[in-house]
Structures are given as structure tokens and as C-alpha cells.
């Protein structure tokens, strides 16, 4: 049977991860596919997984008082989807709706949290990688908030 290891090793989020950690991750990982229009998760549901996207496009949506459902970000190949699994109360804050057929690797959150608790080196490695994603998303959100294309009078 083909293992997920080579697929994980190719993904930008996990590039360069030591083989022993990769083996630990594989035991929490599964291959998943979602069709266009499907919700991968919805606001308020338990955040029991996170995903690294291999193919496709997913919109993160939230209801806005003036514009109905607003897409705040799309994620695609090479991106990570979901970090609510990392922080209590482990609930999703947005809806994730599939725009184009999406193939991803799903990680079972409880399995991964247990492994990170048992092996802090793995936990630190994962935290460093997620911190990078947090910072990039935070910077992008700040830039979005600046509304740089508006006419400033």
C-alpha cells in the first residue's frame, strides 16, 4: 500500500520535517476529497481536524451584516486550512466551502495533540510552522483592513 509520507514531504507546510516526525504525523493523517459546494466545516462545529490542501480551492466565509456571506480568504494548493484545532475551545470560527474539487490530507486533531503532548520536540516543530502561517495570515488581514484600494480623501 502506498504511504502518505512522500505526499506529506512534498507539501510546502511540511517541507524539511525530520523523517521521525513525519512518521508520527502519518499515523494521524488520511487522504480526503471534497466536491464543489460541500462544506468542509462550519462555524461552531468541533474543530477536530486540520487540512493541508493539495489541489482545489476552498473559501473561508462568514456572514456579514451588509453583504450576506462574505469570503474573507480562499485557500488552495500548498496552503493549510484550519487552526482552531490548536486552541481551546476547539471550535471552527468560519465556514469552509469548497469552490473547486479539493484534495487534501486531513489530520486528526486529537491524535496530533496527543503526539505533540508526548513529544514536545514535535510539538515545537508544529508550533513554529503554524506560527509562520498565523503571522502571514495576520499580516494579510491587516493589509485587507487597510483597504488600500479605497479613495482616501
Amino acid at each position: 500500500m502506498q504511504t502518505l509520507e512522500p505526499i506529506l514531504a512534498e507539501h510546502p507546510f511540511l517541507q524539511g520535517l525530520a523523517p521521525e516526525y513525519m512518521q508520527l504525523l502519518v499515523s494521524c493523517a488520511s487522504n480526503v476529497r471534497f466536491n464543489s459546494g460541500e462544506y468542509i466545516f462550519q462555524t461552531g462545529q468541533a474543530a477536530d481536524k486540520f487540512y493541508i490542501v493539495r489541489q482545489g480551492k476552498v473559501a473561508l466565509e462568514t456572514p456579514s451584516p451588509t453583504h450576506g456571506e462574505l469570503t474573507i480568504l480562499t485557500v488552495g494548493p500548498g496552503d493549510v486550512l484550519g487552526w482552531s484545532w490548536l486552541v481551546s475551545p476547539y471550535r471552527w470560527h468560519f465556514d469552509a466551502r469548497v469552490l473547486e474539487v479539493t484534495r487534501a490530507i486531513a489530520f486528526d486533531a486529537r491524535c496530533l495533540r496527543d503526539k505533540c503532548d508526548a513529544n514536545h520536540d514535535l510539538g515545537y516543530e508544529m508550533m513554529k510552522r503554524f506560527a509562520q502561517v498565523f503571522i502571514e495570515r495576520l499580516e494579510a488581514t491587516r493589509l485587507q483592513l487597510l483597504d488600500v484600494y479605497a479613495v482616501h480623501t
Binding site: 480551492k57 473559501a59 453583504h67 450576506g68 456571506e69 462574505l70 469570503t71 474573507i72 480568504l73 480562499t74 488552495g76 494548493p77 500548498g78 469552490l99 473547486e100 502571514e136 499580516e139 494579510a140 493589509l143 485587507q144 487597510l146 483597504d147 488600500v148 484600494y149 479605497a150 479613495v151
Partner: protein
């Protein structure tokens, strides 16, 4: 310094302060507040030559004059194209120009993008909002001699889907196999099936070899600042990051000092600069 005014002189017979008459051939709405004017010479048929990145001073008689980049194909010299956003008095007056109306044109002025220096290299064209207008001639030039360049990508960001410029052309470019086009908006609605996120998020994914990449960047200054960070993170060197700057202008030819920015007059030494030339000024607040 890039190709200067001297290498692209205003039309030989015209004094650079004297507007020449151009007649509106067509006005085409691009987005709710942005339109493209196609102008043809009202006085003579001499071709209008310009380098991608240069601008004209457009004069609405009795209202005022504004600098606007030339956004047409450098090879099509009979029509002069300007895409303009209606933000104030003069641009609003331009938005009301009808077919047959006559305006004054001075130019072309300023430095160009120097597309020739990017030959054999990978090219990233990063545009934000109306910033696609001054970059469109770069794309025309590259596509006219596509085989001379490496990988070419257009990364374009706008505020909302309705504010994307040149939609029919974007679709055509997208269909080409020799050009990568990535478009993103800051705010998406349900009907938008493209990417949502700021334009800088497209940079890490763009196919290019940073060591042999030239990036042409135009958009609001904050957007350009963040774009520079991302390009540097990827390893594109400062002298290969090329930007177009904007400041208020009056004469457009380096006489009045209105557009002074540090040691530079943007109308003459710019508007297109390499980042290494302006790094020290770019970081300073409000000069």
C-alpha cells in the same frame, strides 16, 4: 536610472509645456469609478510613440491638468489610451468627456519600465487596483516578443470583483499557455469563484527563479511596500524590483519642483524607479 525623458522626447515639434489637441474617440467604462479614454490626434496624424510606464499630462480646458499613465499598446501609435479613476475635480471632468470632445495632451513624460533589461529573465508583474493600467503596456510589449523572456506571471489584486480592470483581456491572457495569470480580490462575494486575499499572497506561489526574476510593481504605496517585503523574502534583489511612484505634479518636466521626493523629481527621474534607487526614501513617512 532607467530610460529617461531624453530617450523618449516629447514630440519633436512640440514645446513640452504646450498641450497638443486630442479628440475623444471613445470612452469605455471599466468599473463603477474607472474609465478608459481613447484619444486621437486632432491636429496632425504624426504617430505618438511612448515607452511602457510613461505618462501624459491631460488637460481638461478650464478645469485643470493631471498626470495619467499611458496604458495602450506601444505598437499601436494611432490611438492614445488612458485608464483613469474618478477621484477628484479633473479626473471627474475627464470622466464626462464625450466622443468628439477635445482635450490637451502634453507628453510622453518620465521614465519607462525598461522591459528590455528583463529579456531572458523571469518576469513578475504585480499590480494593485488602477496600478494595472501603467503595467498593461509592459504586458503588451512582452507578449509581442514572448520568446525572449523566461516565465512570465501577472499577479493582480483589486478590492472587489467589480473593481477589476480589463476583464475581457484578463480572460484572454488567462487562456494563454505562455502566461500565468493570478487574480485575487480583498473582498469576495458569493458569486466570485476566484481567489480572495491580498495580492501579496500570490507572490510565494508564483513560478519564477528569484535569482533571475525582474518584478514590475504598481499600485497604492502601502500595497507596494508589502509587495517588496514578499519579493525580498523570495530572494528577488532590490535592483530587480521596479516600481512606479506617484506624487502631485504640475509641469511634468522637472521645472516646478511639485513632485520632488527626496533627491528625485518623480516626473523626470521617475515615475519608474528601481527599488535600490529609492529604498531610503521609500521607508520615510510623508515626504
Amino acid at each position: 536610472m532607467l530610460s529617461t525623458l531624453d530617450s523618449f522626447p516629447a514630440r519633436a515639434d512640440a514645446h513640452p509645456m504646450q498641450p497638443r489637441l486630442y479628440r475623444a474617440h471613445k470612452r469605455h467604462r471599466e468599473t463603477p469609478d474607472t474609465f478608459t479614454l481613447e484619444l486621437e490626434a486632432a491636429q496632425d496624424d504624426a504617430p505618438f510613440t511612448f515607452a511602457p510606464g510613461q505618462f501624459n499630462m491631460l488637460y481638461v480646458f478650464g478645469v485643470g491638468e493631471v498626470p495619467i499613465s499611458i496604458c495602450g499598446d506601444p505598437k499601436r501609435s494611432n490611438l492614445l489610451l488612458h485608464t483613469t479613476r474618478d477621484v477628484g475635480m479633473v479626473t471627474h471632468a475627464l470622466s464626462r468627456i464625450k466622443r468628439g470632445d477635445v482635450i490637451g495632451v502634453r507628453g510622453p513624460f518620465g521614465t519607462g519600465w525598461d522591459v528590455e533589461r528583463a529579456v531572458t529573465r523571469d518576469v513578475l508583474i504585480v499590480a494593485g487596483g488602477i496600478g494595472l493600467a501603467p503595467l498593461r503596456p509592459v504586458l503588451y510589449s512582452i507578449l509581442a516578443q514572448r520568446e525572449r523572456f523566461g516565465h512570465v506571471s501577472l499577479l493582480y489584486g483589486a478590492r472587489m470583483p467589480e473593481e477589476l480592470l480589463y476583464m475581457p483581456e484578463l480572460q484572454k491572457w488567462r487562456a494563454r499557455l505562455d502566461l500565468d495569470v493570478a487574480v485575487t480580490v480583498d473582498r469576495g462575494t458569493r458569486h466570485w469563484r476566484g481567489d480572495v486575499g491580498v495580492v501579496t499572497t500570490l507572490i510565494p506561489k508564483a513560478a519564477c527563479d528569484p535569482a533571475r526574476t525582474t518584478a514590475f510593481v504598481c499600485g497604492p504605496e502601502v500595497m507596494m511596500r508589502f509587495t517588496i517585503f514578499e519579493l525580498q523574502k523570495r530572494g528577488v534583489s532590490d535592483e530587480n524590483i521596479v516600481l512606479s511612484m506617484e506624487r502631485n505634479m504640475k509641469c511634468g518636466i522637472g521645472l516646478c519642483g511639485h513632485c520632488q521626493w527626496g533627491p528625485h523629481f518623480i516626473c523626470r527621474q521617475g515615475p519608474v524607479f528601481r527599488y535600490n534607487e529609492i529604498r531610503d526614501w521609500f521607508a520615510l513617512k510623508e515626504i
